[in-house]
């Protein structure tokens, strides 16, 4: 029997998942409109519906009570803390930018456009649920909602073999790694007899005192890492990344490089820290005794950034180059996770916000140049600076920000990440990261050099429509603004942990 108070508490908890409910409504509405108006499949209509859904999904957040670390709802499946509260608008912005980018570049065919917006909304809903979940069952369900629907998004482009190949590679890697992670979940469920993260963390802390149980914890941690490192595109689960990023439609590539990647890092904070680190109230955490996973992750971080940057040097396709750059950035972001401190977690969140604007910006320029008659190869960027100055200056700013040069936002983000590892006295990692920044200068500046210093090899006319220019401006403002006046964001982020 279901007791009366169960229904009551479920009804009360519903208000906390308002954003997800509104997104679901928007999905159904787009589906209905797409079915009822088959001959009038106007892109702009679906764009407006999707953007309105995403914008509307954020509105209920401000009517809810003050977030608190122990405020759980819906039978303890979700938690309402600052991380949840601030992640939801973040993912809504990711969704809005993706949909606007598909609208202005026209990369997705009209016949697939409504389905594309539905899938973007559904993945966004999955990511919003993922960051709020505190139950292994719910975490896995949200993880797969994000995963399975991203595979579909990668393979959405018709008549394109590369897109299909990319989708298949993504599915195979994704199925393997998420299956491995699920095995890890089952091991911890067997140990604790519960799927609730709080109950499991108590049991893990208890088990880590017993030598017999330590091997199981090590296996569980490694299996968890498989899923998380795949989503964040880190070594040794990064092989899919260049092929998938190159084969997917560019707006979807931009989406994957900031959405699921950010969700992976938030999952580190939401899942990994409570389970395998102790001392949640202090500003410094400790790895569960007997298991030195921070050292493993530090090594992974160093290898990831070095590998990504070295591989990026030889790339001539800009999407592939940015894919390797996004692998390198996963390495930088892992520095914050490694540092086991609130400072580290803050720096990760801060960098994710900054990275959202600069990385989507870089991909947006690639998509705009390709749709305006150019290609994704670096050759078509030769001498582009004279013919499309606005777009090229924007690209240069995004690239400078990705390098981490002042006065752009990427610089501030990197300073926080470096500060986190130096504060924790992991100097070698800071040195590796600094050397990597120097390597990355080479390939980012290669693009800038091609745009402004080289003579054009072909004379394609680049006409960028006004809507694209406005979207670029919307991405430029935070990239520049957060580089000069970042205190508001820093204050918001420091309130989280």
């Amino acid at each position: 029997m279901i007791p009366e108070n169960f229904i009551q508490s479920n009804l009360q908890g519903i208000s906390f998942i308002g954003p997800e409910l509104i997104l679901t409504l928007a999905i159904l509405l787009i589906l209905l409109v797409g079915v009822l108006l088959p001959y009038w499949r106007h892109r702009i209509l679906f764009t407006i519906l999707a953007v309105a859904g995403l914008a509307g999904s954020v509105l209920p957040l401000w009517k809810l009570p003050q977030p608190a670390p122990d405020l759980t709802y819906l039978s303890n499946l979700f938690v309402w803390d600052w991380l949840t509260f601030l992640s939801k608008p973040f993912f809504a912005v990711v969704g809005v930018l993706t949909i606007l980018l598909t609208q202005v570049t026209g990369e997705i065919d009209n016949s697939e456009y409504s389905e594309c917006t539905i899938l973007v909304l559904a993945v966004t809903m999955g990511m919003m649920l993922l960051v709020a979940s505190t139950d292994l069952l719910m975490i896995y369900l949200a993880f797969e909602t994000m995963g399975i629907l991203s595979y579909l998004l990668v393979g959405i482009r018709a008549r394109d073999e590369r897109s299909g190949e990319a989708a298949l590679k993504y599915v195979l890697y994704g199925a393997f790694t998420s299956g491995t992670m699920l095995f890890g979940f089952s091991l911890l469920f067997g140990l604790a007899g519960s799927t609730d993260l709080l109950a499991i963390s108590q049991k893990v802390a208890f088990a880590s005192q017993h030598p017999q149980d330590r091997l199981l914890l090590i296996v569980a941690i490694l299996f968890f890492l498989a899923g998380l490192l795949f989503k964040t595109a880190s070594f040794p689960f990064h092989f899919w990344c260049p092929d998938v990023y190159e084969g997917a439609p560019t707006p979807i590539t931009a989406f994957l490089s900031v959405g699921p990647k950010a969700a992976g890092f938030v999952l580190f904070i939401r899942l990994f820290y409570p389970l395998f680190a102790t001392g949640h109230d202090a500003t410094i955490y400790e790895a569960v005794s007997g298991l030195d996973w921070p050292s493993i992750l530090a090594l992974v971080s160093a290898i990831t950034m070095t590998l990504g940057n070295l591989a990026a040097i030889h790339q001539n396709n800009l999407k592939r180059l940015l894919a390797y750059s996004s692998i390198a950035h996963a390495g930088y972001l892992l520095m914050g996770i490694v540092s086991l401190s609130d400072l580290g977690l803050r720096s990760v969140v801060f960098y994710l916000v900054v990275y959202l604007f600069m990385n989507v910006g870089a991909f947006a320029v690639v998509a705009m140049v390709a749709s305006a008659g150019g290609s994704e190869e670096i050759d078509s960027y030769r001498g582009l600076g004279a013919r499309a100055p606005y777009v090229c200056v924007a690209m240069a700013i995004f690239l400078f920000s990705l390098i981490g040069l002042p006065p752009f936002a990427g610089f501030v983000g990197k300073v926080y990440l470096f500060a986190a590892v130096i504060y924790k006295k992991i100097y070698w990692l800071a040195v590796v990261a600094a050397l990597n920044t120097v390597i990355s200068l080479y390939y980012y500046l290669r693009i800038v050099k091609a745009m402004f210093l080289e003579k054009p090899t072909e004379t394609i006319q680049i006409q960028v429509p006004l809507s694209s220019r406005v979207l670029l401006l919307a991405l430029l403002v935070p990239t520049l603004g957060l580089g000069i006046y970042w205190q508001p964001l820093a204050r918001v982020v420091s309130g989280m942990f």
Binding site: I27, L31, L77, I118, A142, A158, L215, I218
Partner: protein, 166 residues
């Protein structure tokens, strides 16, 4: 007696797995998977999870596996590309699998698992599962339906494309 049946189901589960992985004939592999999935259903029932056991038979054997076999039979025209994995890859895979297997076996035997005492006859579980699905796990249940809806839309999109592409 229960131990004997348990061991039979374990052998039924594990032995066909070798055919699934090693057989070069994909139809044989699919049929071996059928026996494996049946063995798993038997294990579920022995663990007192009657509902899951039946679902395993209906969904995996009755639905998914039949689809796999149909898919294999209907698409297998012409020669299949032989999968060739180089020796270093095979060696690396063998070492990695061996290490993971050893770690899992060791941790399975060493760990102090919390074991609940079994009281009397096994209970019917379907009522309890129904309570949970409409109680504590109502929201995950609903979210799974949204996931299925979106996946269905995506699947239709991909299938439609191949028809139009001809």
């Amino acid at each position: 007696m229960t131990d004997l049946i348990f061991n039979v189901f374990i052998l039924l589960t594990i032995i066909p797995c070798f055919w699934v992985a090693l057989s070069s004939n994909i139809v044989h592999a699919a049929f071996s998977l059928l026996i494996t999935l049946f063995g798993i259903a038997g294990l579920y029932v022995l663990l007192g999870a009657d509902f899951i056991g039946v679902i395993q038979v209906i969904v995996y054997i009755g639905g998914i596996l039949v689809l796999i076999i149909f898919g294999v039979m209907m698409t297998q025209r012409g020669k299949l590309l032989p999968l060739s994995i180089q020796l270093p890859g095979k060696l690396f895979g063998a070492v990695l699998t061996g290490v993971i297997l050893a770690a899992l076996l060791l941790s399975a035997t060493r760990t102090l698992w919390p074991v609940a005492a079994v009281l009397g006859e096994p209970q019917l579980t379907s009522a309890a599962i129904g309570d949970l699905l409409l109680g504590k796990y109502l929201i995950p249940f609903e979210i799974a339906s949204v996931l299925l809806l979106a996946a269905l839309i995506g699947a239709v999109l991909i299938a439609r494309r191949s028809v139009r592409g001809e």
